[in-house]
């Protein structure tokens, strides 16, 4: 039963990173210069995100709900030790959602106010993605301290450092990369396609470099993470596979094969996520004292049953309706 729940968390995380990641990346892309393409780019992003962003955002809420109902020990530990990054994340989520909606529904589409919304939307997308990375990095950094009496060690050190920052930047690059790849297929305009293609290729390099940065930062912090990563055949294999896909990706981008490009790019991101998860499964959080695994922190069986039941029945409604949503909007009319 716990495995089913881990599966749901994994699937939600995966979908949030891929689908939500595109939405974040699109916001960040809007911060980058585009000259005359600025306005058409905004229109494409509005059209691509508008119908789906709220559904994409739900994966995060699902993770939170599964954690607090099924694994309250993990939930409360994170909410105490990572209080500040969580707060930063929420701030970003609120401003981002409001700015995106306001931009679309302002009755008077004046250039100045539109610029303010776009700036807020872009900046909060960047900010939120960064803090997502900080939080993700803090889970397996082993610096969460459950017993210390010092406020600094309890609430700041768990997430403050080179490695979390490196992961934050890595996540940003991944999101913008995903968005650029995705948006190529969302427009018929040749100049705009060119614009997204150029960014996709550029961001591809950024993903590689910032990924290297994560390793270096981990070494600099003298974590065992980097060496564990190289020594574990599974994670190493996943990494090699992800890297080798780059060749395929470049060919497909150049050839204008939209679906294949999307598949390869999301495949790469999936592999990165998989490598990260394999590294320290089945533990969910590493602390100074002991690792917190899903198995040690699970709620009583009666609760887990109800949770699985809700998720399974919920899926019967959610997945068909999601598929319908994407079919309606993502098929060319």
């Amino acid at each position: 039963m716990i495995e089913i729940l881990i599966g749901f968390i994994g699937a939600s995380l995966w979908l949030y990173i891929l689908l939500g990641g595109i939405d974040y990346g699109a916001g960040i892309l809007e911060l980058l210069p585009a000259g005359a393409l600025r306005e058409p780019r905004k229109q494409v992003i509005n059209q691509a995100m508008g119908p789906v962003w709220e559904a994409n955002h739900m994966w995060l809420i699902l993770i939170v709900v599964i954690l607090f109902m099924g694994f309250p020990g993990i939930f409360t530990t994170l909410m105490i030790s990572l209080h500040l990054p969580m707060l930063a994340l929420l701030l970003g989520i609120v401003i981002r959602g409001a700015a995106f909606t306001f931009r679309h529904y302002d009755a008077i589409q004046a250039p100045t106010s539109q610029r303010v919304y776009t700036l807020l939307f872009g900046a909060s997308s960047l900010w939120t993605a960064f803090w997502l990375g900080i939080i993700a990095a803090s889970l397996n950094r082993g610096t969460i301290d459950l017993e210390t009496r010092s406020a600094w060690e309890a609430y700041i050190l768990p997430w403050c450092g080179l490695y979390p920052v490196a992961v934050g930047l890595f996540i940003i690059c991944i999101f913008v990369f995903l968005a650029a790849v995705y948006l190529i297929g969302e427009t018929e305009d040749a100049a705009l396609r060119q614009h997204f293609t150029r960014h996709a290729m550029l961001l591809n390099w950024c993903v590689v470099f910032s990924g290297g940065g994560v390793f270096l930062a981990s070494l600099a912090e003298r974590q065992s993470l980097a060496s564990a990563f190289v020594r574990n055949p599974a994670t190493l294999g996943v990494m090699v596979l992800a890297s080798s896909l780059f060749a395929a990706l470049w060919r497909f981008i150049r050839a204008g094969r939209i679906r294949l490009t999307r598949a390869v790019a999301s495949g790469q991101v999936t592999l990165i996520l998989l490598g990260w998860v394999l590294l320290y499964a089945p533990n969910a959080v590493l602390t100074r004292q002991k690792p917190l695994s899903f198995y040690d922190t699970a709620s009583p069986p009666a609760t887990l049953w109800q949770l699985v039941l809700a998720l399974v029945i919920g899926s019967l409604f959610i997945f068909p309706s999601l598929i319908y949503l994407f079919r309606v909007f993502k098929m060319k009319p």
């Binding site: 955002h57 809420i61 709900v65 929420l90 919920g314």
Partner: protein, 433 residues
């Protein structure tokens, strides 16, 4: 501790308005959309799209502020969630499901014009309303559990023998959800009706706004007429489940039979008596136990450290009840004028006054529920101060959210006013009579 309380109160107070709009407004929209599909009337289409924009704005802000709340349960009350999560997570998991469907449906409805069969499109709008309404029921059921904890045994400060189904259908879930869902319908119905009454009085497109007013007010007035009954049921349950809360609401200090109900008045906690209130002898006994001579437990049966803040509860309760009865009366008048077919201007003027009052009553009602449960977070089992986060400097957390939410509220109102003004100009041109 005060900062954590204030943050939670502020976040909830902010979210509840958006949630109430998000779960009722889609029904008004679907009704207008139905008329359009049936009669092909351009005015109905315009109205549907107008309300759709309102739904879109308030839903988005409600969704992000709801996300904040799901995190805040842990950020502010981790020690509560550690115990409560497994017991009361169930309604949240269902709420998550319903809310997910709502998010999908709203995407389909907002952007689905001309992409779907018209009636399928109409149905997605209705699904927005239904799933929003259902998710509201789940959340309020979870709140009911804090008032009437059930579905577990509390052994040495920890929960055992957890039964999440029993926890979800706790003794307070039914009356609280009934009371809240009606409140959402009536407050939003009156607010929307009031806005159209205002536009009717100011503008040229009288038929248009009258039609809109009728749709919204029919929901609102019907709910307002049912509400006194729902409130009465709620009161009886509170008398049984949380006698201290009822005593605080009513400023009832001493246990007595033939207990009086006070209209107005200020409870004097020092002197333990009501000042300046108008007593209705025996009415409190009747309301609480259906018997004019029944004994009603007063605050004297509880140690003073377990008292909720009496003054706040009593005033908030009076505000809620006062507005509630006024709305029921207006609801009655509404149906009277609807039958006669003419709404006099003074009546429309009164409706304009009621635009914010429903929201005030909803807020006051939540003050009664939440403040009235204090000092407990899990009624009778866990004190709020034992649940609060150990993180220091929470007061800055509060300031941050204060600024964020005040800014967001101001921005939303500003945006909304711009929408209304633009709509007024457009509608006056298109549908003047």
């Amino acid at each position: 501790m005060m900062a954590a309380r204030a943050t939670m109160a502020f976040s909830l107070g902010f979210h509840i308005i958006f949630a109430a709009i998000g779960m009722t407004m889609p029904f008004f929209m679907s009704a207008a959309h139905y008329f359009f599909l049936r009669r092909g009337n351009a005015a109905d289409l315009e109205l549907t799209k107008l309300w759709m924009k309102g739904v879109a704005i308030f839903f988005a802000v409600g969704a992000v502020s709801g996300t904040v709340l799901s995190f805040e349960l842990g950020l502010l009350w981790p020690r509560f969630m550690l115990h409560a999560g497994p017991i009361i997570g169930m309604p949240f998991s269902w709420e998550g499901t319903a809310f997910f469907l709502e998010a999908v449906a709203i995407g389909l409805f907002l952007y689905g014009w001309k992409r779907m069969h018209p009636w399928v499109h109409w149905a997605t709008g209705l699904v927005v309303g239904i799933s929003g309404f259902v998710s509201g029921i789940f959340v309020v059921a979870a709140n009911g559990w804090m008032n009437a904890p059930s579905g577990f045994d509390w052994v040495n400060g920890a929960a055992q023998n957890v039964d999440p189904v029993k926890a979800m259908f706790n003794p307070a879930w039914a009356h609280q959800t009934l009371h809240m869902q009606l409140a959402a319908l009536q407050s939003v119905g009156f607010a929307v009706g009031g806005i159209h009454a205002f536009l009717y009085l100011r503008g040229k497109a009288h038929d248009f706004h009258l039609h809109a007013l009728k749709i919204a007010m029919t929901f609102g007035a019907a709910a307002a007429l049912l509400q006194p009954l729902a409130g009465h049921i709620a009161g009886q349950h509170v008398a049984r489940l949380q006698p201290a809360k009822l005593a605080a609401m009513e400023g009832h200090f001493e246990t007595s039979t033939h207990a009086p109900l006070y209209i107005g008045g200020i409870p004097d906690v020092e002197m333990r008596q009501m000042k300046w209130g108008i007593p209705l002898p025996g009415m409190l006994s009747f309301i609480a136990h259906d018997d004019f001579n029944a004994e009603v437990t007063g605050l004297d049966r509880f140690p003073e450290k377990d008292w909720p803040p009496v003054l706040v509860c009593h005033i908030a309760f009076q505000i809620m009840v006062g507005i509630g009865f006024a709305m029921a009366f207006i609801g009655l008048l509404y149906f009277w004028f609807l039958r006669r077919g003419v709404f006099p201007p003074w009546f429309l003027g009164i409706l304009v006054l009621f635009i914010p009052l429903g929201a005030v009553a909803v807020e006051a009602g939540w003050v009664v529920t939440e403040v009235g449960r204090q000092p407990w977070i899990m009624c009778g089992l866990m004190r709020t101060r034992d649940a609060v986060t150990p993180v220091p400097g929470m007061v800055y957390h509060f300031y941050l959210f204060l600024v964020l939410y005040l800014g967001l509220a101001a921005a939303t109102v500003w945006l909304f006013a711009r929408q209304v003004r633009a709509a007024q100009t457009r509608i006056s041109l298109k549908f003047h009579d």
